[in-house]
């Protein structure tokens, strides 16, 4: 693998760290280099410490590493925060004229480049461009052709006029020349360019783009870190494809609006994070029981409660699997890469409509705010297929009528999936409800119909298990004795970790699981391995619990769910027949 280069810009929130980092990442991507970015940020608008980090190579990069080669430090704290990652020979670019940076101490083994960022920016047309001066300086250090930076600056500022673009280019050159002229030093880096075309996007953007590709026309949401980017991405874009975004008054409203749009026949979605899922859980049972297709995106962050809202965690797995009172069928999808955020979103919409139930699509903070390069063909729109499931029109509706002539949106079927009629379909008028209902959607407490409807809803899950592909992604050494299982966004880090382990002579087989429910049966894989390790970003090992559950011995079960409690004689008979069935088997 070609050498990678690790770069960062850091300062206070409000210093323009994000846009500066993004411009540099874009320049690298446009130069045909792979890029993987990450952010350190706090839940505040100004002050604190924030950084934007870029790892780049001509080969694919899919993780962050604990190393920093070049750091643009706008505050002393930026250096302190990154001491662990900085190494001998690391370059720190700073502005010694800035009051807070005058007495800054650069560790001896590192190279400090004192560049008058602000003064040079002022000469080029405005102090606001000081970060661009620093980018120019970084280009010189990294031996990276500055024309690529020009291209990124054009993309960023072209809407604000050519003059501004030119000023920024001049500011970048001022930084570049300053380093070239003032520091007679050979740096170790030389960032090659290639002819490859790449696009650069983060997980939230991939989810948003996937939603539009999948025909999502309605999005309702309430801003929350780190899911807000899904909403801001869709705003202004989904309208071009006949859709609409509503900022609801809270998450309770957002999910109910999405539910309403879905009942209207639109593909609808909402996105939030853990605290929002808490509120949305109120409506979750209604969505499932009324058999409404809906995609609920949960971009996880560190909990519980407000937790660490700008930090990474995969702690909501159990909440998504089990949240809500009563027993509610649902699917839970967890894309394992940024490109899969796109494709799993498309899949989530198809699954939701084919099986008429809520689908959780879960990403996490690290994936949401991380940008990565991909070849544009990764997102080939011609590959997107839309399957709306059993939607019936005026002509087909006659086959799904009750004896009294009412449409049956909850018809008992072999595969559990019933016909669906959108409002406006003649003779399709029907009730959808969170109450237990008969085939027509009318409230019932009939013990037999209750059981038939519960079984029908669960049968959809069994049907999906059989019809769909729930396989994990596999890599590493397929014959290794050690099996490593992970889910969600850890795949990239694990893929690179396998290479490190390989260097140490350790072979591992990896299964990266994007489907939490239904999920692949991993019992045989676990049995075949000498050791199984489950990797996840939480304390309790929620997915590990599921793997353990799946390999446990099965027990016999006596269940009753028709609304009537157990009766002694009936229970004795049930246990007896269960035992007899067991003996026969």
């Amino acid at each position: 693998m070609a050498a990678d280069f690790n770069w960062a810009v850091g300062g206070e929130a409000g210093d323009g760290i994000d846009s500066t980092g993004k411009i540099f990442a874009q320049a690298l991507s446009r130069a045909g280099r792979h890029v993987f970015t990450s952010k350190d940020f706090a839940s505040r608008i100004r002050g604190g410490y924030t950084a934007y980090k870029v790892r780049t190579s001509v080969d694919k990069v899919q993780s962050v590493v604990d190393r920093l080669d070049v750091l643009i430090a706008l505050t002393p704290r930026t250096i302190e925060e990154n001491l662990d990652e900085l190494h001998e020979g690391s370059v720190i670019i700073y502005d010694g004229e800035r009051t807070t940076m005058q007495d800054v101490e650069i560790p001896e083994e590192m190279i400090g480049l004192d560049v008058p960022l602000k003064s040079l920016a002022e000469e080029a047309g405005g102090a606001i461009m000081r970060n661009v001066v620093a980018l120019g300086a970084a280009c010189e250090v990294a031996e990276f052709p500055i024309e690529n930076l020009d291209s990124a600056l054009e993309k960023r500022f072209k809407d604000k006029g050519q003059k501004l673009v030119d000023n920024n280019k001049e500011a970048a050159r001022a930084g570049q020349s300053y380093v070239a002229d003032e520091y007679d030093h050979e740096f170790d880096y030389s960032l090659e360019t290639t002819d490859e075309d790449y696009v650069l996007l983060n997980g939230d953007e991939a989810i948003g783009m996937g939603a539009i590709a999948a025909g999502c026309r309605f999005y309702a949401g309430y801003p929350i870190t780190p899911a807000t980017d899904v909403m801001t991405y869709l705003t202004g874009r989904i309208e071009r494809y006949g859709g609409h975004v509503v900022q609801a008054e809270d998450e309770l409203s957002a999910i109910n609006m999405a539910l309403g749009a879905a009942r209207g026949g639109a593909r609808a979605m909402t996105a939030t994070s853990g605290p929002g899922i808490d509120l949305m859980t109120e409506t979750f049972g209604l969505i499932a029981t009324s058999e409404t297709p809906l995609v609920i995106c949960n971009v996880m962050r560190s909990g519980p409660s407000t937790g660490m809202p700008t930090k990474q965690e995969q702690g909501d797995l159990n909440q998504m699997l089990y949240g809500g009172h009563g027993e509610v069928p649902r699917f839970v999808l967890a894309p394992t890469t940024i490109s899969e955020c796109f494709w799993k979103t498309v899949e989530a919409f198809n699954l939701a409509e084919k099986y008429q139930l809520p689908v959780y699509l879960t990403a996490d903070l690290s994936m949401a705010v991380t940008e990565q390069t991909f070849s544009p063909e990764t997102f080939d729109m011609d590959e997107v297929e839309i399957d709306r499931g059993k939607v019936v029109d005026e002509t087909a509706i006659d086959d799904h009528m009750s004896e009294s002539g009412g449409f049956q949106p909850h018809e008992i079927t072999d595969d559990g999936v019933s016909p669906r009629a959108f409002p406006g379909t003649a003779d399709g008028a029907h009730m959808s409800t969170g109450l237990e209902h008969d085939e027509q959607g009318r409230r019932t407490e009939d013990t037999e119909m209750r059981v038939e409807q519960v079984d029908k809803r669960n049968r959809k899950v069994e049907t999906a298990r059989e019809r769909e592909d729930w396989s994990p992604r596999e890599f590493g050494d397929e014959d290794a004795d050690t099996l490593v299982i992970t889910w969600g966004s850890n795949e990239g880090a694990l893929a690179e970790a396998v290479e490190f382990l390989d260097e140490d002579g350790l072979d591992v087989r990896v299964l990266s699981v994007p489907y939490i429910f239904p999920r692949p049966d991993l019992a045989e894989d676990v049995a075949a391995a000498e050791t199984t390790v489950v990797v996840e970003c939480n304390e309790q090992g929620q997915f590990a619990d599921l793997v353990e559950h799946d390999v446990l011995e099965r027990v016999d079960r006596v269940n009753k769910y028709n609304g009537v409690r157990f009766k002694a004689d009936e229970l004795a008979a049930e246990i007896k027949s269960t035992l007899e069935a067991g003996v026969e088997a």
Binding site: M209, Y241, H244, G265, P376, S404, F422, P423, G424
Partner: protein, 287 residues
């Protein structure tokens, strides 16, 4: 569908389980008549109902319908209407659904001015849970959870609506069938959020706000020389705690509904078999 729709077409085959004499019978009849009278039919109508006695209305009417979660009927109606501007949306609920658990949604639904009708069946009591104070119960109204009365002023839903920028505010009485239907009809025809609070007496748990009480005290704004397009006059009616009114209290004739403000006018249920045309442009933006 044809124009010979009768209001009974909006009736389902389920018999209401409301108490005999419940105001909700009259409220529902008026809604069905108004829907039929305004040229709607069950297949192009969507009724959203909340939870409580009032919430059962979706079951007793025949149309596309959703009987939702307590307090969230308005967001559901909002979603239906945005996805399907071609569908007539009517949201119904009680005073608890609308002004207690769903009060937050009420304010914002009013602000959005989505072109739908909101009918609140206000009986000033929680009936289905057998008689507790509601947000519109009188200060001294004794109930099982407020033996000496709630000792807090009732919510004034009309004031809340006016303060939130409502474009249509009305009050009707379920027992005055003709006026009730007329008012609901006007709300349906209004371009925007048509809000009608309906006095819909609970004959079992509320012995104060009875049919007789409303019959004796209601002042009909139609006969009171009230100009509903006059916001100041509307304010005076709304803040007059001494009288009960019926009629259209306020109507903004220059109301621009949400879908016109935001250009949301497509039937979103129609989709191609693949990604929408021009979707590749989205990928190009990430170069």
């Amino acid at each position: 569908m044809s124009s010979d729709i009768r209001f009974t077409d909006f009736k389902s085959d389920k018999q209401p389980t409301w108490c005999p004499g419940c105001g909700d019978f009259g409220t529902m009849n008026g809604m069905m008549k108004a829907l039929a009278e305004t040229g709607n039919d069950p297949d192009n109508t969507f009724v959203v109902a909340g939870i409580g006695c009032s919430g059962k209305i979706g079951t007793y009417m025949h149309s596309y319908a959703l009987h939702g979660v307590h307090g969230r009927a308005l967001p559901v109606g909002t979603g239906v209407k945005m996805a399907r501007p071609d569908i007539e949306v009517m949201v119904a609920g009680g005073d608890g659904d609308g002004y207690s658990i769903g009060a937050g949604h009420f304010v914002h639904a009013v602000r959005r001015n989505v072109d739908m009708t909101y009918v609140v069946m206000d009986n000033r009591i929680y009936g289905l849970t057998k008689g507790q104070a509601s947000p519109t119960s009188r200060e001294d109204f004794e109930t099982s959870t407020s033996p000496d009365g709630p000792k807090q002023p009732p919510v004034n839903p009309h004031a809340l609506a006016l303060a939130s920028g409502a474009t249509f505010i009305a009050q009707s009485f379920s027992s005055d069938a003709l006026r009730h239907q007329e008012i609901i009809q006007e709300a349906i025809e209004h371009d925007g959020f048509g809000f009608v609070n309906v006095y819909s007496p609970c004959v079992t748990f509320n012995d104060v706000d009875t049919y007789d009480y409303f019959r004796d005290s209601l002042v009909d704004l139609k006969e009171a020389d009230h100009d509903p397009t006059d916001r100041e006059a509307a304010k005076d009616v709304i803040l007059d705690n001494e009288k009960e009114h019926q009629g259209v209290i306020y109507k903004d004739e220059s109301s621009v509904p949400y879908h016109e403000q935001h250009g949301v006018d497509e039937d979103m249920s129609v989709l191609p078999d693949g990604a929408p045309e021009g979707a590749t442009d989205l990928v190009r933006e990430f170069y």
